[in-house]
């Protein structure tokens, strides 16, 4: 049997986490089909067909799929579920919202947020905010899996030529209506895939002071993250939150500024390759995961940091 992966997209482009999920899905079974549910998304279908790991693209086009509604996606996916041994998608807010609805209707106990494929029925997943790793084996005939995107490399996007098969739409729900989406546009790299992330916490003391963070981010071409405390305090909007219930990031360099390092924050960043902590409290838990700790007042350290970076002039873009 084959694997069916549900693509996340905005009718124009594939979302990058889908490419990470493709890598994981192909490790489960190489006969990987991607289901694209959208409206006027031919460009997305084409780009998915060019991913070498993808063997086939099922393209469901209908105006009811203009916006992503879990109920509509579920009925669409269930039409095709019979033919597949695994149904998978990324474990971000897209997949977390969607997959359990599918699993329940198929009477399958879902395996959430896997970080490693051990065998087609056995996976590694973090529990307790990443403070324990569980090796789990699914004994359901069919599996519903969500994949932690940052634990897998993004799939190559060129060189493939998979068949695109048009398939019919499914039922539309009358009970859920899309109203609007407030997306904050930014020229910076995406938090989930950035090579460098600089995050601010409650130590920043105000939203205005986040400028100190964004100045460094601009210099390093970094994404901006935040602790839950900073988001709760209204210093910065929710899509920047890193942590157990926010985003999980695994950049080459993570710089935590004015963040004490609650367990819930560490869950979202402690797999980063190199971690820097800047905090005036030398006892802050963030130092226990930092490769380089600087005990300093961030209001002095950040401008100095920017100045030192300006001296380097060898920043990789």
């Amino acid at each position: 049997m084959s694997v069916l992966l549900i693509a996340e997209h905005n009718n124009k482009e594939v979302k990058s986490f889908t490419l990470n999920a493709i890598t994981a899905a192909s490790q489960i079974d190489q006969d990987l089909h991607v289901l694209l549910i959208g409206h006027n998304a031919d460009d997305v279908a084409k780009s998915l067909s060019e991913v070498p790991l993808v063997k086939k693209v099922l393209h469901m086009d209908n105006e009811i799929y203009e916006n992503y509604i879990a109920e509509n996606y579920t009925s669409a996916i269930l039409k095709h579920a019979d033919k597949y041994s695994h149904i998978v998608c990324s474990a971000n807010t897209f997949g977390k919202n969607l997959m359990p609805r599918i699993a329940a209707l198929l009477d399958i106990s879902q395996v959430s947020d896997i970080i490693k494929v051990i065998a087609p029925d056995t996976f590694l997943r973090p529990i307790y905010a990443g403070n324990a790793f569980a090796t789990v084996k699914s004994n359901d005939d069919k599996k519903c899996i969500t994949i932690r995107p940052t634990s897998f490399e993004a799939a190559e996007t060129t060189g493939g030529s998979a068949e695109i098969e048009k398939v019919d739409a499914a039922d539309k729900t009358e009970n859920t209506k899309f109203v609007n989406r407030e997306e904050i546009k930014s020229d910076r790299p995406e938090l989930g895939t950035a090579r460098i992330v600089i995050s601010g916490g409650r130590g920043l003391q105000s939203g205005e002071n986040f400028k100190l963070i964004s100045d460094v981010a601009d210099k390093l071409n970094a994404a901006i993250g935040a602790s839950r405390a900073a988001v709760d305090a209204g210093y910065i909007t929710n899509e920047h939150q890193v942590g157990q219930t926010g985003k999980v990031v695994v950049p080459d360099l993570y710089i935590a500024v004015g963040i004490s390092g609650a367990i819930q924050h560490l869950a979202g960043m402690k797999e980063s390759k190199v971690i820097v902590a800047i905090n005036k409290d030398g006892e802050a838990p963030i130092f226990s995961v930092a490769d380089y700790g600087l005990e300093a007042d961030l209001f002095e350290a950040l401008p100095q940091f920017l100045e030192e970076l300006n001296k380097l002039n060898t920043i990789q873009k």
């Binding site: 209707l105 529990i127 929710n238 380089y292 380097l312």
Partner: protein, 249 residues
């Protein structure tokens, strides 16, 4: 309008988790337990809706061992009217919990079911969506704002890109984000009053639901440890280390 709120008893969010040496799980003996944090937001939201005169009754339900009753009692102390404790002796998967909750919904006929978006122990993030599927109700997950309308809810959801607003007809399931509200503390008089509120006990085995595990836990282990880092004395030293030692800038 009747609101059912599902709550779960978990290891307190401040506790440093310890993995058992035999790989069978994590240490729970003598460990502080409390209500799953976003479940507190779910209760709080229900109470606020009732205080605004838009709900008539709040029922708190939990599925778990004997002591799980404490979480129901806490919900009663902050404003739920009565409780239901579905007793089970083993740890159930979200699929099984959602089937049990479906039975409770069929019995109680609420207009809304609230719960936290994710439990901080197994981090599954499944139960609400699964319950919505079983009932064929709409779902509004990761809610950070809820507006109650005549026969619907307008819910703002925290998604990766920012905020999304959807409108769901009732009856509906809402899973709550930590930013939905600020959960209140129970006052001493209310804790005393809560002791007199009824908690109905139901044995899960009497509900006719298949709760057998489908997932085997082969091994629970500690995650790989990071090697100890160093403290640097100055910003200059930090930048030099990042450039020459770690080679990340």
């Amino acid at each position: 309008m009747k609101i059912l709120v599902a709550v779960k008893r978990v290891i307190d969010y401040n506790v440093q988790i310890r993995v058992k040496e035999d790989g069978s799980g994590v240490v729970t003996d003598n460990v502080k337990m409390s209500t799953n944090p976003p479940d507190d937001n779910a209760i709080e939201e229900a109470v606020k809706i009732k205080e605004a005169g838009k709900a008539s009754e709040i029922i708190a339900v939990t599925v778990g061992e004997e002591k799980a009753q404490e979480t129901v009692r806490k919900a009663l102390a902050v404003g739920a009217d009565r409780g239901i404790h579905v007793k089970v002796d083993s740890i159930l998967e979200p699929l099984a919990v959602s089937k049990i909750l479906k039975k409770i919904v069929e019995k109680e006929n609420p207009n809304l079911v609230f719960m936290g978006k994710q439990a901080i122990d197994d981090d599954c993030n499944q139960t609400g969506q699964m319950l919505a599927a079983h009932l064929n109700w709409p779902q509004a997950t990761f809610a950070s704002k809820i507006e109650v309308k005549e026969n619907s809810l307008e819910v703002t959801r925290e998604v990766d890109e920012g905020l999304e607003t959807i409108e769901v007809n009732t009856p509906a399931i809402v899973t709550c984000d930590l930013r939905l509200n600020e959960p209140r503390y129970a006052s001493l008089p209310n804790i005393m009053k809560a002791k007199k509120k009824p908690i109905e006990q139901i044995n899960a085995s009497d509900l006719g639901v298949d709760t057998n595990p489908r997932i085997e836990h082969i091994k629970i282990e500690e995650p790989p440890k990071r090697k100890a880092g160093i403290k640097v004395a100055s910003v200059e030293e930090l930048v030099q280390k990042l450039k020459n030692e770690a080679k990340v800038i």
